[in-house]
């Protein structure tokens, strides 16, 4: 090479940032964004929770908001309901998602079309889908009550959102409807990532379909199932629009979860301090829940040997 003949490389010395500084420069915009819009309001929420802030002004009141909260029996009902709501809804989303993904994974004609038809609840505004459900649940004009009356199962119109128990389970069904398609598609993606060799080896050995599903599919996609469960759990816990549009937390509090309660106190009644105390409790509960969950997630990853 001509330029190395005289021992000189004719290349301008590169002026580059050290790797660490360059990396932080790349992260900075995201960090600043999160800092202003999430972190600072979070700190502010903690501060407000020790005040009696309302529209007029605010005074420091110490632990009063928390003491009120923990002394009210209603609050424990709401916490219990929130966790019940979360566990039931997430379990159903996973079961429906797993069944749906297995069906869409079956090698039958038309499956490409079925995959497209599963997507709508996921890609439309949540509020729009919930409006559809609200009508379905209507006792006089809705489809569900209509079917029940026509088939003679019930004599009179049943307004599913008007009774405490049925309203709660109706909200669960809608929440599963909103969440299941995404779980389905992610589990389907995971199933298609499982190596075919495993199935073929098992098939040669005479393993049936159900055995292959139990002993190959499930263990292979377990890490994805577990991470979807965590994501769904957090989203379901925080779910606002579905309950708000269906029932606004009613009837008589039957669908009031922590998020709905917080919104009602903080925004509807504009008792900012008390609302902030509830928000802090939510943050605490979610943190504890996630840490416990991540601990188990780690174990699952180790057990199934995924990276």
């Amino acid at each position: 090479m001509s330029d190395t003949a005289d021992g000189q490389i004719t290349r301008a010395p590169r002026r580059t940032l050290p790797e660490g500084a360059f990396a932080w420069a790349l992260i900075a915009p995201a960090m600043i964004f999160i800092g202003v819009i999430v972190a600072w309001p979070l700190v502010e929420t903690f501060r407000l929770s020790f005040t009696d802030a309302r529209l007029g002004g605010e005074n420091y009141v110490g632990w009063a908001n928390y003491i009120d909260l923990f002394n009210s029996g209603k609050f424990y009902d709401i916490v219990g309901r929130t966790f019940y709501w979360m566990f039931l809804s997430v379990s159903l989303k996973l079961v429906v998602g797993l069944i749906g993904a297995s069906l869409l994974n079956a090698a039958v004609p038309g499956r490409a079309l079925f995959r497209v038809l599963v997507m709508p609840p996921w890609v439309i505004p949540i509020a729009i889908g919930v409006i559809g459900w609200k009508w379905l649940y209507n006792g006089y004009f809705g489809f569900i009550s209509g079917i029940l009356q026509r088939t003679g199962l019930v004599a009179d119109p049943v307004s599913l959102l008007a009774q405490k128990t049925s309203a709660f389970y109706a909200a669960i069904v809608t929440d599963v409807w909103v969440g299941a398609p995404m779980v389905t598609l992610f589990l389907l993606a995971a199933m298609q990532g499982v190596s075919r060799d495993l199935y073929e080896a098992a098939w040669v050995d005479g393993a049936g379909r159900w055995y292959r599903f139990r002993r190959i599919t499930i263990p292979q996609i377990m890490p994805v199932i577990v991470s979807m469960a965590l994501l769904s759990a957090i989203w379901t816990f925080n779910s606002f629009e579905i309950i708000w549009i269906l029932t606004e937390g009613g009837p008589r509090g039957a669908t009031t979860t922590l998020i709905i309660d917080t919104y009602k106190v903080a925004i509807s009644s504009q008792r900012f301090g008390e609302g902030a105390a509830r928000a802090v409790v939510i943050v605490g509960l979610l943190t504890v829940f996630s840490l416990i969950y991540l601990y188990f997630l780690n174990k699952v990853y180790k057990h199934y040997g995924a990276k």
Partner: protein, 280 residues
């Protein structure tokens, strides 16, 4: 051979798929049914599945009842697109840093980003309201775009990082050896290679941004002309009566543009999910 089903198994699979899809599509059928019927027939008892006088009148009348309907539909798409664009601008460099570079506090800062995923706007509404007021962004498009971006950044970083990790390092190293700067390598080598991943991640961000506009819209914005569809649709709930048939017609019409886009994109989206989300 292995994938062959008996006739009965096939019947079983199709029956189960039909049941599953009925659950998924039932609200859409119901909305369509409601949108075709005159309001007084809709509101008649006893319950009837169909009435004889179907009409598409609601699809005409809805533009009169809620004059800004077209604006709401466009607003929804505009807000979701803006959120997606801003999120990606912030997420791409950050995801690259987490995928490739070594730097102090890497795991700790990634943990902070993922921790943000635990909160939604609903928990932070009051202080968020004050921040937006301080920044002078209340009652504008920004009031819905900025919080939307913040809560989608973590997911974006997380998804894109795993895509970038799969791009072979050798290409970047070759560019670096040839004297390209780090930023040049990112712009001219990494980003072009990551296009499939960028499409999937930005589609996911768009879906999330489009699906969840209701809360920020009803809390941070009171200007009707900026309202997105999920908030504007409630204008059909009038003082006198709810024009349900028009509300359903407007809902279906409003989601139509995005549904059509997805019909074209779904092949890439499903392929991208299949290729991406699994092998971390």
């Amino acid at each position: 051979m292995m994938d062959r089903y008996t006739f009965l198994q096939k019947v079983g699979i199709y029956a189960a798929v039909a049941l599953f899809l009925t659950f998924i599509l039932l609200p859409f059928f119901e909305m369509f049914r409601v949108s075709l019927r005159p309001l007084d027939h809709l509101m008649s008892t006893p319950f009837r599945f169909w009435s004889d006088d179907f009409s598409f009148d609601a699809y005409r009348q809805m533009w009169v009842t809620v004059p800004l309907l077209g604006r709401y539909i466009v607003n929804s798409i505009f807000i979701a697109l803006s959120v997606t664009l801003m999120t990606m601008v912030v997420v791409v460099p950050a995801a690259y840093a987490y995928a490739r570079l070594k730097f102090p506090f890497k795991n700790a800062s990634l943990g902070i980003f993922l921790g943000v995923n635990m909160f939604t706007g609903a928990v932070l509404l009051i202080p968020l309201y004050r921040v937006l007021r301080t920044l002078g962004l209340l009652n504008s498009y920004w009031a819905m775009i900025i919080p939307g971006v913040a809560f989608l950044i973590p997911t974006g970083i997380w998804l894109l990082r795993s895509y970038l990790e799969r791009i072979p390092r050798e290409l970047e190293e070759a560019a670096y050896v040839d004297g390209a700067s780090r930023l040049y390598t990112l712009r001219r080598v990494v980003i072009p290679l990551a296009v499939p991943g960028l499409i999937v991640v930005s589609t996911s961000v768009f879906i999330a941004a489009y699906a969840q506009q209701f809360l920020f819209a009803i809390t941070f914005n009171n200007q009707r002309e900026y309202q997105p569809l999920p908030a504007g649709i409630f204008e059909f709930v009038g003082y006198q009566q709810v024009t349900w048939n028009e509300m359903m017609a407007a809902s279906l019409t409003g989601i139509l543009p995005v549904m059509l886009i997805f019909l074209f994109l779904q092949k890439y989206l499903i392929a991208g999910l299949t290729a991406g989300a699994v092998k971390e």
